[in-house]
Symmetry: C3
Subunit: 352 residues, 3 copies
């Protein structure tokens, strides 16, 4: 058998197919440092051991999106090595914290397939889950991705498009315990705004902006052991008249880090309800973002609440110039400088 397998194409997938992804990955303090260096994250739980302990944790959990991007990377060799584009996310749930030393094991199930009308490619819908070394599920997500066909003439089964909820319902959000005095977070962040201080419909223009260098996204994407060709093979991309694409997960991480200014007291991401990489990002682009509060959710605990947020990432424009697109807007109707439309839910301390 030929070695050096080059990933699956659209016609290699079947609905119900289950895939155990190679090779498990242990995350460490080294990965955390690199994550901070690559994104500039200042998330309060991940920045200091003392913060984490005061907030009720034994030690600092790893940043949610470091976990997400690493788990995602594990799926690439089987799912999206030959991807045209990563189209969207749904029902992403952060179920348990991941700590330095933990090992992620990732598996997937194909839950939908739909060939494109040009018969050159098709959309693959995948449910993936990451567990830690104790078998505890820490992350679960659906994504759909457009994948090339190897043979344009290959036959396809009937299209199956899975039903997906537009939002992770409150009852399915993880419940974690925080220290009783979790609102002392304001002494750590120097910012007083808690759950109570955000209003539905409120808009936050995050003041920072970040220009992406080639090594920034390349190192990040390799750290996640994501091998998708489009991010790394500049020679092949140039031969096809293009250039290397920035990994979408890096854009989410950058926007999340920029959104610290305005959401300082957010503790954790608990869900990504949906998200789309609307346009591609390239080396040299400068990313800015703005957030809108979509909903305020009361959880079954007294000291924290959840905020459902919509974050729009844009390139080479100011955050204030962002026009929040109509929800459910077709991909092709977004302005060409919008790169991310992400609907996600965070936990944040409440006033008494």
């Amino acid at each position: 058998m030929k070695k050096g397998r080059a990933g699956n194409h659209f016609e290699d997938f079947r609905c119900g197919m289950k895939i155990q992804h190679a090779t498990p990955r242990t995350l460490t303090e080294g990965d955390r440092s690199l994550y901070i260096g690559l994104t500039g994250s200042r998330a309060v739980l991940g920045t200091a051991e003392t913060n984490a302990q005061q907030l009720g944790f034994e030690r600092r959990p790893l940043e949610d999106l470091l976990v997400f991007n690493t788990a995602f990377g594990k799926t690439v060799p089987d799912i999206s090595l030959n991807a045209v584009a990563n189209l969207g996310y749904a029902d992403v749930r952060f179920l348990a914290d991941v700590y330095p030393g933990d090992t992620l094991v990732v598996e997937s199930e194909i839950i939908g397939l739909k060939e494109n009308s040009n018969r050159k490619s098709g959309v693959v819908y995948v449910r993936s889950t990451a567990a830690n070394q104790h078998g505890l599920e820490v992350l679960s997500w659906i994504r759909w991705v457009m994948v090339h066909k190897r043979d344009h003439g290959a036959a396809s089964a009937e299209p199956v498009v899975p039903a997906m909820n537009a939002v992770v319902s409150p009852g399915r959000l993880p419940r974690r315990k925080y220290a009783m005095d979790v609102r002392e977070i304001v002494t750590m962040t120097g910012t007083a705004d808690l759950w109570d201080d955000y209003a539905i419909g409120e808009r936050i223009d995050h003041p920072g902006a970040m220009t992406i260098n080639d090594s920034d996204h390349s190192i990040a994407t390799r750290l996640y052991q994501n091998t998708a060709r489009a991010h790394f093979d500049g020679f092949a991309m140039a031969a096809a008249g293009g250039q290397r694409l920035v990994f979408g997960g890096h854009i989410i991480s950058l926007c999340k880090a920029l959104s610290y200014d305005g959401l300082e007291n957010g503790l954790s991401i608990v869900a990504i309800n949906g998200g789309t990489h609307v346009n591609p990002t390239f080396t040299g682009d400068t990313i800015a973002c703005a957030t809108m509060v979509l909903d305020k959710i009361i959880l079954g605990v007294s000291n924290v609440g959840a905020l459902r947020l919509r974050m729009i990432g844009i390139k080479d424009s100011s955050a204030s110039s962002i026009v929040f697109p109509h929800p459910g807007q077709a991909r092709q109707d977004y302005p060409s400088n919008v790169v991310l439309d992400l609907d996600y839910t965070i936990v944040i301390p409440k006033k008494s």
Copy 2:
């Protein structure tokens, strides 16, 4: 209240104002690795656990300038997010070692304010201190920085310019204990030159040179969680006719790493007496440096002494081409390729 605060402007500061900076930061072995990868540091104490133990330490302390740059970064969102330029340092004292796992907490006091005659900006003088998780002060420094006014018409108080000493006097240098046989350092570095072998007025042209890539300084600056816009927002900088500036702390770190060749047996920085980033540095610049021995200081211990050094950093020229500027020379009289003029004090083993 509007969220996503965009930092203080000149008129927001008052003399005597105290600021507790967000959010404390834990440093780890991951940060050390990244520091070595970004600067090429070969400092003997930080490079090997075995070195540190032979020199009388329980374990490897973190590099002095990793601590300095991280602590500095904590002050940026409150002090210098809207800085025009970081003008100078004085009375920087490294009071205790920082180890992997330690958490830095940083606070500042405004000690001087002086509006510029154009009334568009002003100089802010700040005394900052970093303590570890046990409340032990590890670093104390003064810097002054030119900050934009938000409203050019805003009134300003009488100017206050704090008195600052030109040098940290020997009595104020930290006293640390080293192993009795600290001069065995020469078996680690392969270099015999100890305190006794340096002469006042001696000049050392460090042989290396380092070209700065965009991700080098961007990753370093993000690692320090320094959010100053001028380092990151290439779009805004280009719109204003400029480009992203390299963080001055990265230049100090690079020059310090280059100066290893010629100062191999230096153990620790104990003070920065003064320093100026004379001209800006950009991606693609190649940095070289030379050192002059300004003074030799006898400490109250028998096995180590201190050297007061002046290090000049230059871009796109050889170290041998450096002309040491007249002390106290006005900023505008420096040659345009000089980027750093730093007066600092190190501890180095003495012969018996």
Copy 3:
């Protein structure tokens, strides 16, 4: 004596000269993370703690080439700071695993010297060894390197060219113990090919390709504390009509990482039989590679065998375009896009 020594030139070396290299280096989990971020390595032993334990290790050893490049870097200030080019490797043996927290101490002996006919430079042959903090030898290698003369008129001794074996004989390969059920590796990598599934003469075109960014190789080379000027001083390289060269060790690491697809179940490198950096590599080059199986070696244990492999690295061309050069082909006869010709031996599980 003048400080800031600028490395040895050809006439400074003598056969039999022994050099203890400065300064020992402790490797950590931080270095591992950075190595993954810089190379994209997915090596099964280094990626997850759980993998290592199932394969019979107490914990994850560090990647072989992180150890090799770090140990190599230690020799640069004494051996190759003034190198024209690193010409080749022989008899490289990986004798014991290195773990986070281990400290490498490196020493060398000059075993050959041969002046070039132009009398401007000469070839220096060096045997180097790295030991850990317990004095256990972990790595031993020969390399030869062309070094500038300081004084073209300096006299040279008679040429000495050491005898070198073309291959590390099976009896000199290290013996390590693996868990009895080491072939369960296929559940970790998802790939069934073990020692038995490779045939002598079989060729593997590895499907990936990697474009090298300037910070990628600069950070890697600094992480190894390799100070060779040619990698860092862009100003001097441009003044001489050239540009910075990518460190050859980074190319070996990249090719090794790309070769994961097709050699997924390789456990460790045990030897580099020989190798040459045939042509230089620069920022922006895209690297691809192919492997040919040269030999299958039966070791004195039942559950693993060794494969002797030849890996050719190429720039800006596809792996499938590689023509394996005639063994022993003269350097100048290689196509200009071939950058690496490496003959090395790995251990891989056997079927019962």
